[in-house]
Assembly symmetry: C2
């Protein structure tokens, strides 16, 4: 049986009010002797107030839900760490929700999470993201989208910048015919990546060739491998921008199979810069959005909304940049 405040009160021979006051430091009007005695018993019984009962009173659970497509995408690991460390610092716990990119699952989660009295919600790469932003769907708790910077303008999304800088880099290295392989259109990330790609082309007055854009059916290496083989076989392009590293992995595998040399015949750029890039045959050039910071900052942002106050605890160095490794080179 759990030790309750009532039991502590009994053992100390005082009322629960007194114990509660001591627990919450509101003991200015209490006899120091009483305080001493009660504290002693609390320690002795190793008593910890029930977060459940507290939540019941305060109507907040100190619980944040983190919804993402699939934790197996290594992109998320680092983001989650950032989010968890931050949540923890402010006494929140993180509940994990894998949506598998299924809209139905996402909506199911939202309903059941609200019954759970979560205090807020972190969203990354989920389909409802778009709907929520357009206010087509209502959630009665604060939400925060995981992106590389908070309080930023549309133009400053890391996805846009990343795609822009990647494409730009390739153009600077004399590539003109550049493929862009991205995930399904439903994702905000996909759309922003494409936008960055388009921006760069426009800036250099290169005409956008719709055939150079390939939407694959999911953000996995397998899809990318299967679905890009055909395009890569016949393309005249000399470079590819991939909207995440997993896609780049699939593409690299396909290129290997087609015996197209990287970077000699084809330059490849990923996005996310997951740890594994450095262990690859030819380490992958990739845009690094500082995922830990993304997780942390979005969480701070959320907690600020939940508690309606300024925490001023954002990471300072955002540090997004194109990590140039070995899959990219000058066009011959």
């Amino acid at each position: 049986m759990r030790v309750t405040i009532k039991r502590i009160a009994e053992l100390s021979g005082v009322s629960v009010t007194t114990v509660s006051k001591i627990l919450n430091g509101k003991d200015h009007d209490l006899n120091p002797k009483t305080i001493e005695k009660v504290k002693q018993i609390i320690k002795q019984e190793n008593y910890k107030p029930s977060l459940l009962a507290q939540s019941m009173r305060y109507r907040q659970m100190k619980l944040i839900a983190l919804m993402l497509p699939d934790i197996r995408n290594p992109f998320f690991a680092e983001v989650i760490r950032g989010a968890e460390d931050c949540a923890n610092k402010y006494n929140y716990s993180l509940v994990l929700c894998n949506s598998d990119n299924e809209l139905e699952k996402e909506i199911d989660y939202i309903t059941s999470l609200q019954a759970r009295h979560i205090d807020g919600m972190l969203l990354s790469g989920v389909q409802i993201e778009n709907r929520l932003m357009e206010n087509q769907l209502k959630i009665n708790v604060p939400i925060s989208f995981i992106k590389s910077q908070n309080n930023i303008k549309d133009r400053d999304y890391a996805d846009i910048i990343g795609a822009y800088e990647s494409t730009n880099y390739l153009i600077k290295h004399h590539h003109e015919n550049i493929l862009c392989i991205v995930g399904p259109e439903v994702f905000a990330h996909t759309q922003r990546y494409l936008q960055g790609y388009t921006n760069a082309l426009n800036e250099h007055e290169i005409e956008l060739n719709p055939k150079n854009i390939l939407h694959i059916s999911s953000y996995t290496a397998e899809s990318a491998y299967n679905e890009s083989l055909n395009l890569l076989k016949f393309t005249k392009a000399s470079a590819v921008c991939c909207s995440n590293d997993l896609i780049a992995y699939g593409v690299l595998k396909a290129l290997r199979e087609l015996d197209i040399k990287v970077p000699e015949q084809m330059s490849v750029i990923g996005y996310d810069d997951i740890e594994f890039n450095i262990y690859l045959e030819t380490p992958l050039t990739s845009f690094s959005p500082n995922r830990y910071a993304m997780g942390w900052d979005s969480t701070i942002n959320l907690i600020e909304k939940i508690e309606s106050k300024n925490l001023n605890d954002f990471t300072n160095g955002i540090n997004t940049r194109l990590m140039i490794r070995s899959t990219t080179g000058d066009k011959k």
Copy 2:
């Protein structure tokens, strides 16, 4: 303001009892008309009972804590998916706890999680694992260790089998001088891996050379790289067993740097078989413990303990096996 059972009662002009009975299907003694009316209002108001209040009464939160060293280790992603899918099926949510291999953090978590009224705890690769198994530490909720099979005998741990089969495979391919690079001793996994390695050597009457065993300071590629360089430079061994894939990655990097060819001069075997293995330069031979099943089965095991009943919902195909790829070969 949240819709409560009280509000539903008011709107329907009945008492909360009546509503509660209807919600819980205990409406056999209620007037069908009343039931209809109340159900209608529940739907209209989109009312969901508060899990919090229910937990308060039933004293269970439908919450399971999952503690592991670091989610960034890709080994865990698949395990977590298995655990989450299973938890979800039985209406539990998963709370994530990264312990960073710090005993202090682990113990902190345990205390704070109990205040949170978690119903049970899943543990994987944490230091307290040993202490708990030896009953040096008490937790007042059911716990379950994530391992490859439940209800199994000591000899059947996947770690032991994996190390045994890996070593065995190397011996069969004429290697006799085999290194074993493992993580810190505090981990149960480390100990079991070493045991499997030793078992295999014993079986073939190869004497164990203590110098062939290297404990590195953490389960990361970086540690492995830094701390194995020296050993690899001077060793006469022709093969290495690594107690996880990250270690193998570090070792591969070191070997590349030392210009030791894999598998011609050195065979390398990992453990975990993380997805990335197939994208490596020379895809890594690795023992695959079916991590999804590990997550799922351990969770079933836990929920069975929590609810004291048999769910009979274990995955059937455990399917652990040595995935032979390109980092291993015959000794010349």
